[in-house]
Amino acid sequence: MTTVFILISLVFGAYLVAVIEDWALTGRFRLTAPVFSALALLGRESVLPRKLDRVFFEVAPVLLLLSAVLAVAVVPLSPDLIITDLATGALFINAALVYVLVALLMAGWGPDGAYAMIGGWRFLGQLIAYAMLIVMPLTAVVMRAESMLTTEIVVSQAGLWNIVYQPVGFVLFFIAAMALAFLPPFDLPTSKGDLAGGVEAEYSGVRLAVFRLGRLVLIITLAAATVIFYLGGWQGPWLPPWAWSAIKILVVTAVMLLGGRMLPRIREAHLLSWCWIFGIPLALLNIFLVGVLVLVFP
């Protein structure tokens, strides 16, 4: 029963992400725009490029949606509102979200087009930059919670949220999460200016609808992950737990979508060198600091 409820709230969340993104892009708050564009995409032809790799081209959007939906399985909206409370919850979110890269590589290599291929291999370079900055801050979060159960992680933040306990970890995780969801300023694989749409340029019709639905669910999943790891999940003074979760997730989604518009796209060379030369030492420092804090104030 909880599974059905969470999946429905996931679809509703994806709809809200579409509304917020449309509002950020066009400046008009139209509640019906995502519904019309979804129906329109359904009604359009879905063209297959000439010399494509059929398996890759078909599997890529499906895999993108799958990896986002599976990552939601371990997200607790309230103490008992979680689909599967896995013992290795934090690791499972990361494991599911790695297949976003596999999906984009397939979407890049499949259609045999110059723009798509360059976009695909660019996203592999982007993964090499952000992957470590997701894993190491998560280790610090798990250290404080002494377990990888996502419910344990939320409960461990009862006194002090992790955003206050380990701010460096939060900043690194947030940047890496935006890079994972290829949101601007990290939209290297699907950049309009460099690659005319890059990886998603060759998709049309219902396959494009699945690709875009996968991206929306991915954004809401990453926002939910940021909330449960750093913003104290469902904890909050007056409102019921699920309400707090919903508010926090929407706030984080809005910050992710609106914040990126204010910056030019980052160069891939800069993204890689900054993440490796400044990001990883900072992450190691964060683990060391949390290690000391956990020992000093039990």
Partner: protein, 605 residues
């Protein structure tokens, strides 16, 4: 009635989808969003959503001048759009290679809004139709030609085995038109060391046919008489020689071997070392294969009408070729033109800065006729020219922001540009604080300096004009020797870094300076042509257009303009592209090309 409808009767569910489509109009702009903004069209507010790829679009909006070469590219874009698709034409155009326009409207914001409403009705009524007709145009036709992977110069029209090495030929699809008409159009490549032979359309380059002998496996082994190859001993094949230092780049033939089953055993094991021995090595010493990717006339990150054929080594540019598909033909069409028609003709040469060219024509005619105009009208004309400079720089900012994915700046700059295009003198005073706020906010944007610093460096000793030259420290502004400008307190703006950041900074400073200039000129009137008597003499004029100094010379025969010769800055800036983007990362290369603020329209044949 839309010609690009989809097959199917308009039943209940399809009617719902058709009405959804009428609310979700994604538009692909031809010749480009910068031209739309320059002509005062606000696309977003009219309800159309611009998209980057023809696959995502269901409306093709054609506005602004479309030259024959651009019509071919427009036909390609229309063919690649997904049904149900529609063609929306603004302003009278003779689009021969496209089907009849579904919705026609006059070229103005009012026409655009009224056209969009008609488009919505058309979509919801006839998105699906029981009978549809194919869209077929000569450029889309393909013919299969057979070529050998080892000898790209062997081209036959029917399958068979290669006369030289015996391997059977692989099919390749090539455009059926004999050669790409625009390919050997004004081909600008100053790439000195390797004369570029565009590998995928062999055969159509006429070269002197002196015989030479080369080895199939090692093209760099070249002799004048038959014999065996010093390296691998295979006997050398006769081949009519192309230009002497040309080594025919085999990079593409390994990839498109088609379904030729090259089994390992019979050919002797060919290790990767042999295969990549003669490939050019990139900076880090890896001999990789290069792909030819066109960044065509309608690329969302480049000015509309500019075609950049890049040979990419991974995501870095190995070689580049620039073509202007939008350049105009002769200025004076019929044997002679009336002065007013000539002024109109020159105004619509470059849709990006019409007033500058109108002023150029007026000044040239007045210089020929010897009329001098009152200080009052001269000041008002300068006010109009400066207003257009601000609008042009804001338009460039919007295109720069679109290329670098800087969404907030694109929307702000575009809306300000549209306001400035038709702003009267009072409105300019009102708009001034918002422009200055935009500039201040832009200069504080994090990541912008690191994104644009030392990218697109130009060599010091090259000819350049306008903001590009001023960013390199060379001050060749035509306004310096214009008495009225100097009287209004004009001072040139200069930088030294000579990279994209410097060009951005120069244009921002110029916007602030021109605002003060307009206030000093305190009048903005579009230059109007005055009557030129029946005289016959020659005149010439210089005007500092937003992109640099344009120079016009014309000759008059008893009141008729006989010949005119325009010298525009973009013709020189086209030659800067190749050396600037060599070995640059793709994103940096496109941003550097953008920073030159090219207008392909003013490049005359």
């Amino acid at each position: 009635m839309i010609t690009g409808a989809r097959l199917g009767t308009l039943t209940g569910f399809r009617r719902l989808i058709a009405s959804a489509m009428s609310h979700d109009l994604n538009v692909f702009l031809v010749p480009g969003p910068d031209i739309a903004r320059a002509q005062g069209l606000d696309i977003e507010s009219s309800g159309l959503q611009p998209v980057a790829s023809p696959r995502h679009a269901n409306v093709l909006l054609v506005m602004g001048p479309v030259t024959p070469a651009l019509q071919e590219a427009t036909a390609v874009i229309y063919a690649q759009m997904v049904r149900p698709r529609s063609l929306f034409v603004l302003g009278a155009q003779d689009l021969s290679s496209l089907p009849a326009a579904d919705v026609e409207a006059e070229l103005s914001q009012q026409g655009l809004i009224e056209g969009v409403n008609r488009l919505r009705r058309v979509f919801s009524e006839s998105a699906f139709r029981p009978s549809i007709s194919d869209f077929d145009v000569p450029i889309l036709q393909i013919r299969i030609e057979y070529t050998c992977s080892m000898h790209p110069e062997i081209v036959q029209d029917e399958p068979g085995s290669c006369p030289r090495c015996g391997m059977f030929l692989i099919p390749r699809e090539v455009q059926s038109m004999a050669e790409h008409r625009h390919m050997n159009h004004q081909k600008i490549n100053t790439d000195a060391e390797i004369p570029v032979t565009f590998t995928h359309n062999h055969g159509d380059h006429q070269h002197d046919a002196s015989m030479e002998y080369t080895c199939p496996m090692h093209p760099d082994v070249v002799q004048n008489e038959p014999g065996s190859c010093p390296r691998c001993g295979m006997n050398l094949e006769p081949r009519e020689s192309q230009t002497e230092s040309d080594h025919d780049h085999h990079h593409m033939d390994h990839a498109d071997q088609g379904n030729m089953n090259m089994d390992h055993d019979d050919m002797g094991f060919m290790s990767m070392i042999d295969v990549t021995k003669d490939l050019p090595r990139s900076e880090d010493g890896l001999p990789m294969e290069w792909i030819d990717a066109p960044f065509g006339p309608f690329f969302p990150g480049l000015p509309g009408g500019l075609l950049l054929l890049l040979t990419l080594d991974g995501d870095a540019v190995a070689r580049s070729e620039t073509h202007c598909l939008s350049e105009n033909t002769e200025l004076v069409q019929s044997p002679s033109m009336e002065p007013p028609n000539f002024i109109e003709r020159l105004t619509c040469v470059n849709p990006l800065s019409p007033i500058a060219y109108r002023l150029l024509a007026c000044r040239a005619l007045e210089h020929a006729a010897g009329i001098d105009i009152s200080a009052e009208t001269a000041r008002a004309r300068i006010g109009a020219l400066e207003r257009e400079r601000i609008a042009s720089h804001l338009g460039w900012l919007a295109l720069f922001a679109q290329q670098t994915g800087f969404d907030w700046l694109m929307r702000r700059a575009a809306s300000l540009q549209l306001k400035f295009l038709t702003a009267e003198f009072q409105q300019i005073k009102v708009l001034k604080p918002s422009v200055l706020a935009l500039i201040k906010r832009l200069q504080q944007t994090p990541l912008l300096k690191s994104r644009t610093a030392n990218i697109g460096q130009l060599m010091a000793d090259i000819v350049s004009y306008g903001p590009v030259a001023r960013a390199a420290g060379i001050d060749n502004d035509a306004r310096n020797d214009d008495k009225i400008c100097v009287a209004l307190g004009f001072t040139a703006v200069k930088q030294i870094r000579n990279d994209v950041l410097a060009r951005l900074q120069v244009r921002l400073d110029e916007i602030t300076h021109t605002l003060m200039l307009i206030e000093a000129a305190d009048a903005v009137v579009v230059p109007v042509s005055n009557t030129v008597g029946k005289i016959s003499s020659s005149g010439e004029a210089r005007v500092e257009t937003p992109r640099g100094m344009a120079h016009l010379q014309l000759t008059l025969e008893n009141g008729q303009v006989m010949t005119a010769q325009l010298d525009a800055p973009s013709t020189y800036h086209l030659n800067l592209i190749n050396p600037m983007i060599d070995q640059q990362e793709l994103g940096d290369a496109l941003m550097a090309v953008n920073s030159l603020d090219l207008s392909p329209w003013e490049v005359l044949q």
